[in-house]
Amino acid sequence: MRGFGVLLRRELALAWGQGGGPLLALAFYACVVTLLPLAAGRAPERLALIAPGIAWLALALAALLSLERLFERDFEDGALDLLALGPLPLELTAFVKCLAQWLATGAPLALAAPIAALALGAPSRILPLLVLCGLAGGLAFAFLGGLGAALALGSRRGGLLVAVIVLPLFVPPVIFGAGALDALAAGLPWTGGLWLLLAYAAAAVALCPLVMAAACRNALD
């Protein structure tokens, strides 16, 4: 499993080094959250009502940002050949790439989400749940995003295609997470949504690498 650490270090270095990684995602997130009150009106009670949902939706959108980089660059410059001939099965290689994507962008975004939600006037009791949903949802977004990125390999205008493939798959986790947050904010039972979100994330982590590996093999062939 030595290859695991070697690859993870490389992927993290690439995510941080190229395109700013977490900083870019955080800046994008900040922009969306700042634009929202301008678009939706700035009545505090209305903002407070939609704040959890918006903080959560912005997370999903920010997760789309650097997906194109995930496989496409390695495919174009030939590094994917080297990755396919390495010590790890391609499934595990895809897993590591998505894990690094999550560590570099998903996790920092999840930690930043409470700040944005607070700024919009969300009740502070939902913040721990928002972080938890952000972490679990971010994991699902990273792996589903990787799936879209792998399927779009080699196509022109890949970035747009990735978004079109991936956004429908983002629907369930967005519903589950927003449902849990809304329920908690309204004082209703909220654990159901969280469990569904965790289950969806677990399924994405387990199944997406299989598809990504098949898509990469297909693109290389």
Partner: protein, 212 residues
């Protein structure tokens, strides 16, 4: 450890186009084979098929060790290097970062990476970003992992094209040492290899393309 690569009645296609069919080729330990042929004949595709990246249309590629047939996937994962014209180097990373990643990923160590850099005359360039390297320097950086993590089968696609005369000689010595140590080399070339090699022409039969 790969001792023999055996290619039997291999046929490759790219899309609808048939590149070649009924190719038989055997390479044993200590031998080099130079693949020649016009552009687009399928030399690169053959290398990628041996590496397991392309699925053959027909035929069979097998690897034999000292004790008989090897499991193809394991033999490829541990036994071969593929250096193509796309070198897989990331422009924004330093030469040293890329060399150590490629070396560790293919089973070498940091010490062997440093030794390989010295061998390929890269030591002064290691701190530079890959984007600052010339074509020949990039190629030497890509070739360095051949030395840094020893594997028996080298699949080389035009390995010498961007190298200057001095470094061609240097790499010729490295290839000769690899063969003397029991290695195998399968190289797509237009210029002759600097080591004794059997020459095999790919897609010499022009009908192959028309028949598609």
């Amino acid at each position: 450890m790969i001792r023999i690569v055996r290619i039997k009645t291999l046929a490759l296609t790219r899309g609808e186009r048939r590149l070649f069919s009924d190719l038989d080729l055997e390479i044993s330990s200590g031998q080099a084979v130079a693949l020649t042929g016009r552009n687009g004949a399928g030399k690169t595709s053959l290398l990628r098929a041996v590496a397991g990246l392309l699925r053959p249309r027909a035929g069979d590629i097998s690897f034999l060790g000292a004790d008989g047939p090897l499991e193809a996937e394991a033999a490829r994962a541990e036994g071969l290097h593929l250096v193509g014209h796309q070198d897989g180097l990331k422009a924004a990373r330093t030469a040293w970062e890329e060399l150590t990643f490629q070396t560790l990923w293919t089973g070498g160590s940091t010490a062997s990476a440093r030794a390989a850099a010295e061998r390929l005359d890269l030591t002064r360039l290691l701190d530079l970003e890959v984007r600052r390297l010339s074509a020949g320097q990039r190629r030497r950086l890509a070739l360095a992992r051949l030395v840094a993590s020893p594997r028996p089968l080298w699949l080389l696609d035009e390995p010498m094209a961007p190298l200057d005369t001095g470094h061609r000689e240097g790499f010729g010595t490295i290839m000769a040492e690899h063969l003397a140590g029991g290695g195998l080399i399968l190289a797509a070339v237009h210029d002759p290899l600097p080591v004794p090699a059997r020459s095999v022409e790919i897609g010499g039969d022009a009908r192959a393309e028309i028949a598609a």
